[in-house]
Symmetry: C2
Subunit: 93 residues, 2 copies
Amino acid sequence: MEEAEVTAVMFKALGDPVRLRLFSKVASHPDNEACVCDIADVGVSQPTVSHHLKKLKEAGLLVSERRGTWVYYRVDPGVLAAMGKLLTVPAAA
Amino acid sequence: MEEAEVTAVMFKALGDPVRLRLFSKVASHPDNEACVCDIADVGVSQPTVSHHLKKLKEAGLLVSERRGTWVYYRVDPGVLAAMGKLLTVPAAA
DNA sequence: CTGAAGCTTTGACATGTGTCTATATTGACA
DNA sequence: TGTCAATATAGACACATGTCAAAGCTTCAG
């Protein structure tokens, strides 16, 4: 898979308002981590939230971990570095 | 239109490999500007290129200008600032 | 005024996506 | 064990999207 494809997957994942809100909520929580129940209020049904979180995971933007009854989502540590690198190139041009 | 919607439109526009390549090519040309004929070699037909450039324009990422026979696309000046702002928030959290 | 080059628009089609309801899974606790 | 709370999965459906071939504009050269 080429670089454009990989990068596009990340952009695509953030290209939906619901997913962007979910990601934003996780990113702005303490430790960049939040339980699903903390962020699920985004205007769609619970299964839809779950579906979007799965997409964000598949895109490499979030990682998840189960702790008891709750599932916590956290921003993948490599994400900010990856996006920062993307911006550096056109900025220098 | 809320902020998440507006921002999502930009991400969505870059969420396609062909559009990402087109944007990247424009951004890495001198003066962040390129004629369609300079960047059209992205593996799809010419009408499809035109279609994607239109989407990038609608998303506010590119602007276009006709000079004689050629049409030049340029990175919208506000784009880098907008994306930089987006990254600052989660980075500070 | 024609012809050709450079782009865009139109129309059609297959595929992808977001959403829901219903159902399943997982873990805590009585 | 049985039940409840928290998430996930499955299935279905309407709608959006990416692609191409064909036709339409624009502009310049002759």
